[in-house]
Homo-oligomer: 332 residues x 2
DNA sequence: CTGTTAGCGCATTCAT
DNA sequence: ATGAATGCGCTAACAG
């Protein structure tokens, strides 16, 4: 409900009795301006409630001082943590981070990318929905603008990548589990996600690599609902004890909730291991043992990648293990 | 890393041997164009990989088909649920929802609002950080564009409001608690948030209104860390049992985690009640009794408010109670 | 240090 | 149905 057409630089210039250039120079501070005129301009702008029109500026400069972030889903706490940390990495004025949710859909993801490209963002950060099917979106982005894939990647695109070494994460899990559980006596089950995303893919690979190749595996999606369902299946199959390793904390929380609601004990009968290190892992009871990703470091790394726009490059960070109470503290 | 300057309508027109007007009309479909030319234009656009420049379009049309959302913090699961549901409400192509996180800061919130206004968004949705101190931002927004406050409001601004009746929510809590707990024998403690936001304010009012005015009250912020700290204080004060009502699920989850880690039993010794109805409430063990907000309905309501831009109006939704296991199922 | 001029890319007149 | 011309608001290049 704009009460009136909003003021432009021409309006300010007229009121201040100067040229639009002087208004522009005064307000954007790009060049020295006589203090007397400066005052006149500032007052006129104040009086008219002038606000710069960034669309005009962007068209002229062919830059927008904007970075776009496309996430698959904001309700997934790991993605919202990434979005929040990235926002924080852009907290100094100068560049605005804008977030678009793909709502789990490839079409919506494509729309988000098109939208940001059309808006002429200076860089685009993308958590691809799918390891193969997001290829068109990632390539389109990379062809137009500095593009960084976060957490997940589509292979073979001209985009940078920032993420964690998922296989190393699973190695940490193996080290820990094998030191506190007798793997020859206690079965391991992996509750993962279908390898539609590189992270799901790599975590599954990690399991196959570090644990026995015959490790039973249940694959679904990155959700607590899937964790509950998987736990239900495990119980229905007659398991009375196991070490359940999951592909994500949200899955682990679903598994844990179901086990506890069914009266099973953790970690005595079942052990549960998460991945990501979201805040909710520490809130569970028992608290969740999980692989923590250095989200803050990753966000800062993206920031510096964008500031110095070099050629595409890949950055793998090392995760660390957070010991919780869903795994035993010492050899059982 | 744009390999080359990207193609403009002039480039497409040249290649197709037509005027830019024809290109514009063909690609935006605003007017009838001869099928033969249409084909030529489409082919040329395809060949050049033409992508419309929305900045140019926006400057010309003085509209952007964009709605901005400014949230205080994306890591708060209630806000990210709102952001996600609102994204979904704008899932049909036509209007893009862009999200900006204020990172809990009034300055950053102001920057987000200025940024969206400068980008000429068609409407702005705002979850104000502070009940009084966000006044400047809300007013600036409302003066320039159709503005809707969500979940929290600054009183006396020319902006619409969509939220839940917090007092009614606390009334539901009172009804439930008084029916399953003997309030004359079992103390009630409120773990709330400082009344810096209208929601915190109204929930505290609700407690004072429906429960005894002498109800002990601990006020902090909307975080799990605060919930843990409050629970620690309650135990340190020597309480051995109480019904703990909280201002938010995240607080309740922190309270619950601390109580359980300290070996207290819920709901036998302590009862815990949340507010918001986020997904994690159902994952807790015991599952959290909470007041659920109709987030999806609220998001749709905002969408229709924006589509039909009438005068500012307020919309209070009715919450409902979700029974969990942190409160007894029947009279204790 | 200031003003004049031009043009970023597009949609929309106004002519034809 | 098409093309030529105009201008959205701004900054940068150029003269002075």
């Amino acid at each position: 409900m704009p009460l009136t057409r909003s003021a432009t630089m021409a309006d300010v210039a007229r009121l201040a009795g100067v040229s639009v250039s002087t208004v522009s120079r005064t307000l954007s501070g790009t060049r020295a301006v006589d203090p007397a005129m400066q005052r006149k301009v500032t007052e006129a702008a104040e009086q008219l409630g002038y606000q710069v029109n960034l669309v005009g500026r962007a068209l002229r400069q062919t830059r927008t001082s904007t970075v776009g972030l496309v996430v698959p889903d904001l309700e997934n706490p790991y993605f919202s943590a990434l979005a929040q940390q990235l926002s924080r990495a852009f907290s100094d004025p100068g560049i605005d981070l804008l977030v678009f949710s793909a709502d789990g859909s490839l079409e919506t993801e494509a729309r988000g990318v098109r939208s940001f490209l059309g808006r002429q963002v200076d860089a685009l950060v993308l958590i691809p929905v799918h390891e193969q099917l997001s290829e068109a979106s990632v390539s389109a982005a990379a062809a137009a603008v500095h593009t960084i894939q976060l957490d997940r990647q589509v292979a073979g695109t001209a985009a940078s990548y920032v993420g964690v070494s998922n296989r190393a994460g699973m190695r940490l899990v193996h080290e820990h589990v094998s030191s506190v559980v007798d793997l020859s006596a206690q079965p391991v089950v992996y509750v993962g996600a279908k390898p539609d995303s590189s992270s799901a893919h790599e975590r599954l690979d990690g399991i196959r690599r570090w644990f026995s190749p015959e490790t039973p595996t249940l694959l679904g999606d990155f959700s607590a609902a899937w964790g509950r369902e998987a736990a239900a299946r495990i119980l229905a199959d007659g398991w009375t004890g196991a070490t359940i390793i999951t592909a994500a904390d949200v899955i682990a929380l679903g598994v844990l909730a179901h086990l506890l609601h069914q009266g099973r004990s953790v970690p005595a009968e079942f052990r549960v291991i998460g991945f990501d290190g979201i805040g909710a892992a520490a809130l569970a009871h028992p608290s969740l043992t999980t692989v923590r990703q250095p989200v803050e470091k990753m966000a800062r790394s993206i920031r510096s990648l964008i500031d110095s726009d070099d050629k595409p490059s890949s950055h793998w960070f090392k995760p660390d293990l957070v010991l919780g109470a869903t795994s035993p503290a010492s050899r059982m």
